[in-house]
């Protein structure tokens, strides 16, 4: 007896039996592994693309002035009234800034008004901002085409979008007449000088940008305090946990996620997730049915052998274990193959992206959010547990029926069928 053979035989014989059994019909095992691999690869790519798109969606929303979270006055979510103010603006700002992992905190007030220059008029939503914080929160205002963005201490200054400038036929340094309704119902008029023109590349967004300082808007509306505080976190994955923590710190006001602030976007996200999940379930179902068929055939071919093993004392639990182990091994191989097939595709999509500008047009904006037309897949370590989880779950599910069928085998009946 050699030491090598001694080591070899010290392993689990049942496992060796299961592994060698997979080698009996290499074509069938190979095709099953290929099926699992293709299914895993398709699911991996679809999920990587969906995750990438989702990450970019959240990034686009959070960087378009909405943030990940918003502290809003109680009742704002239902009424959406601009004149509502936070109960304690200073406390809300402090609570947000003190939260661990916060990257940006920016306060806003909003009011509807009319901008006029000569005979030309445009309806706008004037956004009162903190000039220091806003460019950190809102990537759109970083694209100054002419002039500058607002600065601390500015009075009667406004930054507008390029499309609005074209519509009113004005230029940098012109004074615009703003007309709005104060909180007490009186009309208010003010002259605002254009200090900066923003050009985001989206005409839709450029028509909406009209920023003034918080102090100016407070004075014009006659309403003191802040209407909302937008919060951006360094790690978007922390939003759910930190939302609850922030809600505990903010008394009398409410903390809303971007999904609650923009419910239509949240609905889109949920629809995307549902479609992606449905697609993956369909792929998994096809894989499961294919592997079930192959496993069942293999089980039927080994009916007599299982009967012999049962006669020798192999219990039902052990028999199920053998069939499931074979499935697990096939699932692991399939997952590995799936990773190998998916990685180059996901890597390419994660680095080069897929450009949807031709299909979607140049203006990829929805509800004031500017979306990047090139979507990048999310490639990461998550793919490992995902592939193995999917491969193993699919093959285990696929093997359940063949395993159950094996335990229902009547050894006496199976053995009485004499070999030809």
């Amino acid at each position: 007896m050699t030491s090598a053979s001694s080591v070899e035989s010290s392993g689990n014989l049942s496992i060796r039996y299961a592994l060698r059994s997979l080698g009996r019909s290499r074509r069938r095992t190979g095709l099953s592994v290929l099926g699992v691999g293709l299914g895993c690869a398709i699911a991996l790519f679809a999920t990587a693309f969906m995750r990438g798109g989702q990450t970019m969606r959240v990034q686009a929303i959070s960087q378009s002035g909405y943030g990940h979270l918003r502290i809003a006055p109680a009742g704002w979510e239902q009424s959406r009234r601009d004149e509502l103010r936070l109960q304690d603006s200073a406390a809300a700002l402090e609570a947000a800034r003190d939260l661990e992992g916060v990257a940006v905190v920016a306060a806003h007030v909003r009011v509807q008004g009319l901008l006029a220059f000569g005979t030309r008029v445009a309806g706008v939503q004037l956004l009162g901002v903190d000039p220091a914080a806003e460019p950190q929160l809102n990537r759109l205002v970083r694209t100054i085409d002419e002039g500058r963005y607002l600065q601390a201490g500015d009075e009667g200054a406004v930054v507008v979008g390029k499309a609005l400038v074209e519509r009113l036929d004005v230029e940098l340094g012109d004074d615009l007449l703003l007309t709005l309704t104060r909180a007490d119902g009186e009309m208010e008029y003010a002259m605002l000088r254009i200090v900066g023109i923003v050009s985001t590349g989206s005409r839709t967004i450029d028509e909406t940008i009209c920023h003034a300082t918080l102090a100016d808007v407070e004075k014009l509306t006659g309403l003191q305090g802040v209407a909302e505080v937008s919060v951006v976190f360094a790690d978007p994955q922390q939003v759910a946990a930190l939302s609850a923590e922030l809600a505990q710190r903010v008394q009398g006001d409410e903390v809303l996620t971007w999904r609650e602030v923009l419910p239509a976007m949240g609905g889109d996200e949920a629809a995307d997730r549902a479609f992606s999940s449905f697609f993956i379930v369909v792929v998994a179902a096809v894989v499961i049915l294919g592997v079930t068929s192959a496993q069942l055939t293999a089980m039927l071919e080994r009916r007599r052998e299982f009967a012999v093993l049962m006669a020798l004392g192999l219990g039902e639990r052990k028999l199920v274990g053998l069939v499931l182990f074979e499935a697990v091994f096939m699932g692991a191989l399939g997952a590995l193959l799936g990773l190998l097939l998916a990685l180059p595709l996901v890597w390419h999509t994660a680095t080069a992206g897929i450009d949807f500008s031709a299909a979607m047009g140049d203006d990829m904006t929805v509800m004031g959010v500017f979306f990047d037309p090139i979507i990048y897949a999310d490639m990461g370590l998550w793919m490992l547990p995902y592939a193995f989880g999917l491969g193993l779950c699919a093959t285990l599910l696929a093997a359940l029926y063949p395993a159950w069928s094996a335990t229902r085998l009547d050894p006496a009946a199976a053995l009485s069928q004499r070999d030809a």
Partner: protein, 233 residues
């Protein structure tokens, strides 16, 4: 005859296929004691294999009662019967039925592993059993690399490696030439003599009958005769 291993009382077995019922056994009374070398003979369809399956706890009777090693088979669950087979019985089949992907030694070891035997012990036991049966050189061969006679001897090694009290052999010589059949029977009788194992065969083979110390003849599911011999082989 020493200790009683099997006691069958008025055992009946009916197989049903749709509306057709076939009475395979019609009230068998049989006792098998420790150390017997017994042949169950009879024409095809007489119920030999059915009786062997019932004694081997592979099937349950439609009527009557079988007590095996003191346990009423009718009262046992499937898993309890499997455990009883594992601990107390050995099987030898007509078509050898070795596991094709395992070597001779692994085939023998498999049952020992099911019994929970330590890997080193089970390997040593498998090699010892194969050596005792003159199969030491075949230990690393797979069934496809062995002759029919060699495979059947490995099947016997698999059946006796765990030292069961009772070995049931269904037509063990049916696929063997007379030389191999004789060698196999001598080997099994030696195991009976040296280890005290009990062997029960179902057979048509006059050679097996000549080796048997007791011959039970079945016809149409009933015991026609039960003959004990003073000398055999």
């Amino acid at each position: 005859m020493d200790e009683m291993l099997v006691a069958a009382q008025d055992v009946k077995k009916v197989f049903r296929t749709g509306d057709i019922a076939v009475e395979a056994l019609r009230g068998i009374d049989l006792e098998i004691g420790s150390g017997e070398f017994m042949a169950i003979v009879g024409p095809s369809g007489s119920g030999k294999t059915t009786l062997l399956n019932l004694i081997g706890a592979l099937d349950v009777p439609t009527g009557g009662r079988i007590v095996l090693f003191g346990r009423d088979l009718g009262a046992l669950s499937r898993s309890e019967r499997a455990e009883l087979r594992l601990r107390s019985l050995g099987f030898v089949f007509q078509a050898y039925n070795l596991v094709p992907v395992l070597t001779a030694r692994e085939n023998v070891e498999f049952v020992l592993e099911l019994q929970g035997m330590d890997p080193k012990k089970r390997r040593a036991r498998a090699e010892e059993t194969l050596a005792e049966l003159g199969l030491g050189e075949l230990a690393d061969r797979r069934p496809s690399q062995m002759s029919g006679g060699q495979q059947q001897r490995v099947a016997v090694a698999r059946a006796v490696a765990s030292r069961p009290g009772l070995v049931l052999a269904d037509e063990p010589t049916a696929n063997l030439d007379s030389d191999n059949a004789q060698a196999l029977l001598q080997m099994m009788r030696r195991l009976r003599d040296e280890m005290g194992m009990t062997f029960v065969f179902s057979t048509h083979d006059p050679l097996v009958i000549s080796y048997a110390s007791r011959v039970v003849t079945l016809r149409d599911g009933e015991v026609l005769s039960d003959e004990r011999k003073d000398t055999c082989g």
